[in-house]
């Protein structure tokens, strides 16, 4: 009993309504559990955590190379870069910007490499609201297929110092 020792014969299975509820709850838990592997194979949105070790300096080099070879324009002094469909794209988190601006094609798939060259950052695309964690030392690869057109804002949703709210970027989908 709650504040006294229970009667000695307390060990017994649940009965009546309680048993019903335990059973129903267990089934629901199993449904929720199986939903995840199901979606892993059938769903289009998954978080596989694919990533490779990379030093901040090395990542920065790759980003610069990517910008040089694929740059198609400039906006507010920031390069706009268009990777080839099916190819690699790079996005660098840095206090306090997402670099560069990406230009993608609707329905095409890209391997988007995201990493940080300083603190942890949060990759968050608005207004569609998808979010991934960005860590220094980890080249986080998202195999991404934009399914809608428009200009999307990238913001940072991991605290990265006093200018955290200034950290924005852009993905243009045509």
């Amino acid at each position: 009993m709650s504040i006294k020792s229970p009667e000695s014969n307390w060990f017994k299975p649940p009965e009546g309504s309680e048993r019903l509820w335990v059973g129903v709850a267990l089934v629901w838990c199993m449904v929720m559990f199986l939903a995840m592997p199901y979606w892993h194979f059938k769903g289009k949105q998954n978080s596989t955590g694919e990533s490779y070790a990379v030093t901040p300096a090395e990542f920065q080099k790759r980003v610069n190379r990517f910008v040089e070879t694929n740059k198609v324009g400039e906006k507010n002094g920031i390069p706009v870069v268009e990777p080839s469909p099916g190819g690699d794209a790079y996005l660098m988190g840095q206090m306090w910007r997402w670099y560069p601006i990406l230009k993608l094609k609707e329905g095409q798939t890209y391997r988007l490499h995201i990493s940080s060259v300083d603190l942890q950052h949060g990759f968050s695309v608005l207004p569609i609201n998808i979010n991934f964690q960005v860590l220094p030392g980890y080249d986080h690869v998202l195999t991404l297929t934009p399914t809608s057109k428009g200009i999307f804002q990238v913001i940072c949703n991991e605290f990265c110092g006093i200018g955290h709210h200034l950290m924005t970027g852009q993905i243009i989908v045509e």
């Binding site: 709650s2 229970p6 009965e15 609201n129 979010n131 949703n157 709210h165």
Partner: protein, 573 residues
């Protein structure tokens, strides 16, 4: 037979439980410290809520993050854990009919905890620890920040050891017969989980401390997150286990309830211990470096068995209340037992509201957001604090407030002033927390980030922002925050007035919340043997069945709506 030392115990005039005077001293000490930390955290809460309310935007950026750090640490760690140590000391002694193992050990633990907490608060306030509660590297704080946390954690471990030693001497001296009472069992579960989480804490905080001193060169960001959340998330299960123990305790004290089936309740506590340590995954679902099967297995605590445990407690506590009420004669219809419950008793109101908020908001959102893939549309948005303000504030904190309304008269032996205010306080706090939590959750579903000073992104190189609906929900957050703060303040003022200036009621029974004859009736119902009549009523608890099925349906609707929302976003692997 108790093992109390001569003259160092008394018998509670209200409940008849034995009270070890040494334990009583430390229960008071930890409870007072807890309320002080709660006050610091609550002032911080008001300031940050008024900053997140975008139309008010009170604090400057620097102070927002500083005060947010202060809020997280004082609330989630210092307030909650200090209070839990008080609960452990109570459960280990009064419920097991035993003396406290050691006063000296208790002193060491107490001093370490208080000094550690004050160190951390000092460092944060002078601006040397603007790293938020999680202190993710490479963000670096002053070494005393980490040392303060280590002190607090070691102090907690020592206090938990004192509790285990108390359980040990109680068993050795056979101070109780048969199995230990359920509430003590729940406290034991909380203590076991605490040890595991605190070991994670040591694993991550000691290297961080050395790193801040320059003795360790590098801390891997991913490793830190993995181990830190081994501290951060399972410690929420300490809170859940302790909260559930308080639910059982208060249900007994305020209505005479007792569990229908001890096996089920105890098994549910065991599930917490076995499955919760996997839970650091909840925070790492969209992290690099961890693969999908790891994420799926760990985020579901091995097939949601810890969720099952909470769903069980969410049934057994109201069901036990229903049975007690029906035995008292409130048998009309499905809900007469509930409508005639002691709603004016702040102890009862607090725990019942706590059960409802924890289940309907905290539980449902938690499981959904912690689903591997759904986390993609929730990670680091305001949906996350929207969830945990319904668990750890509307659930745990509110339950602890309810307990305090009995701790003050029964342990401090002081009477409250302004009892009417106490009776409405749980409702004010609960409605504030509900608004706060819903405001956060809905704003978050537009993608509004958590831990963010300016959602208008003023001055950013590329513009960004949210539409009016998101700002409206930030307003709901703000108004809920003001209301919750008001509720918190009433609680603090009433408690402080009673503890330091209240009329002594030593030697008298306390019937401030319910008339003596009602309390007597409850205790009679509680002491009744589990006879045929009890079993008959216990097998059929229609009111509780309706409540839990409403919960299940809400759960399913919310859960599948989130899968639908996920299906609409860009494809990503």
């Amino acid at each position: 037979m108790g093992n109390f030392l001569e003259g160092r115990y008394r018998t509670c005039n209200t409940t008849g439980l034995p009270v070890c005077l040494d334990a009583q001293f430390f229960i008071k000490a930890h409870a007072v410290a807890a309320v002080v930390f709660f006050l610091i955290g609550a002032i911080a809460a008001l300031l940050i809520a008024l900053t997140r309310w975008s139309a008010v935007h009170l604090l400057p950026a620097m102070w927002f993050y500083r005060v947010l750090t202060l809020h997280g640490l004082n609330m989630l760690i210092f307030w909650i854990i200090s209070f839990e140590i008080a609960i452990l000391y109570f459960a280990g002694t009064s419920l097991l009919n035993s003396r406290l193992f050691s006063r000296k050990v208790a002193w060491v633990a107490y001093v370490l905890m208080v000094v550690g907490a004050l160190m951390v608060d000092y460092i944060v306030l002078i601006g040397k620890g603007d790293v938020l509660m999680t202190s993710y590297p490479p963000l670096k704080a002053h070494p005393l920040f980490y040392l303060g946390i280590i002190f607090f954690a070691v102090g907690t471990l020592i206090a938990v050891f004192n509790f285990f030693a108390t359980v040990y001497i109680a068993r050795r001296d056979k101070t109780y017969e048969g199995s230990m009472p359920l509430v003590a069992y729940g406290a034991l579960a909380a203590a076991i989980i605490a040890v595991v989480t605190l070991l994670h804490g040591a694993t991550v905080m000691i290297p961080s401390f050395l790193w801040s001193l320059g003795l360790v060169e590098h801390i891997d960001a991913g490793w830190y997150r993995l181990v830190w959340w081994g501290l951060g998330h399972p410690s929420q299960q300490i809170n859940v286990a302790a909260m559930v123990a308080v639910w059982y305790f208060m249900a007994t004290l305020t209505t005479g309830a007792k569990p229908l089936n001890e096996t089920v309740c105890r098994a549910a506590f065991v599930f917490y211990i076995l499955f919760i340590n996997l839970a650091s995954a909840h925070h790492l679902l969209v992290d690099p470096g961890l693969n999908a099967s790891w994420k799926i297995w760990n985020t579901s605590y091995a097939m949601y068995l810890a969720v099952l445990a909470s769903m069980i407690h969410g049934f057994t506590v109201p069901a036990s209340i229903e049975v007690a009420q029906r035995l008292k004669g409130f048998t009309r219809g499905i809900f007469n037992w509930l409508t005639s419950a002691p709603w004016g008793d702040p102890g009862f109101a607090s725990i019942f509201l706590s059960i409802v908020i924890f289940g309907f908001i905290g539980g449902i959102t938690g499981v959904t957001l912690g689903t591997e893939q759904i986390n993609i549309i929730a990670h680091n948005t305001l949906r996350i604090p929207g969830h945990f303000h319904a668990t750890v504030v509307g659930g745990t904190t509110l339950a602890f407030m309810g307990l305090t309304y009995y701790v003050v008269p029964l342990i401090f032996q002081r009477d409250f002033y302004f009892k009417k205010w106490a009776r409405v306080q749980p409702y004010i706090f609960a409605s504030g927390v509900v608004l706060l939590s819903l405001g956060m959750s809905f704003a978050g579903s537009y993608g509004v980030p958590r831990r963010h000073w300016d959602v208008n992104f003023t001055g950013a190189p590329l513009s960004a922002g949210f539409d009016a609906a998101a700002h409206f929900f930030l307003g709901v957050l703000g108004i809920g925050g003001i209301l919750a703060f008001t509720g918190a303040l009433i609680f603090i003022v009433l408690t402080v007035l009673a503890v330091f200036f209240g009329k002594s009621i030593a030697g008298q029974p306390f019937h401030g919340w319910q008339p003596a004859e009602k309390f007597k009736l409850s205790m009679e119902i509680f002491s009744r043997k589990k006879d045929e009549k009890f079993e008959q009523i216990a097998h059929k608890v229609p009111g509780t069945v309706v409540l839990v099925f409403v919960l299940l349906i809400s759960f399913m609707v919310y859960y599948f709506a989130n899968w639908k929302a996920l299906a609409d976003v860009w494809w990503v692997r």
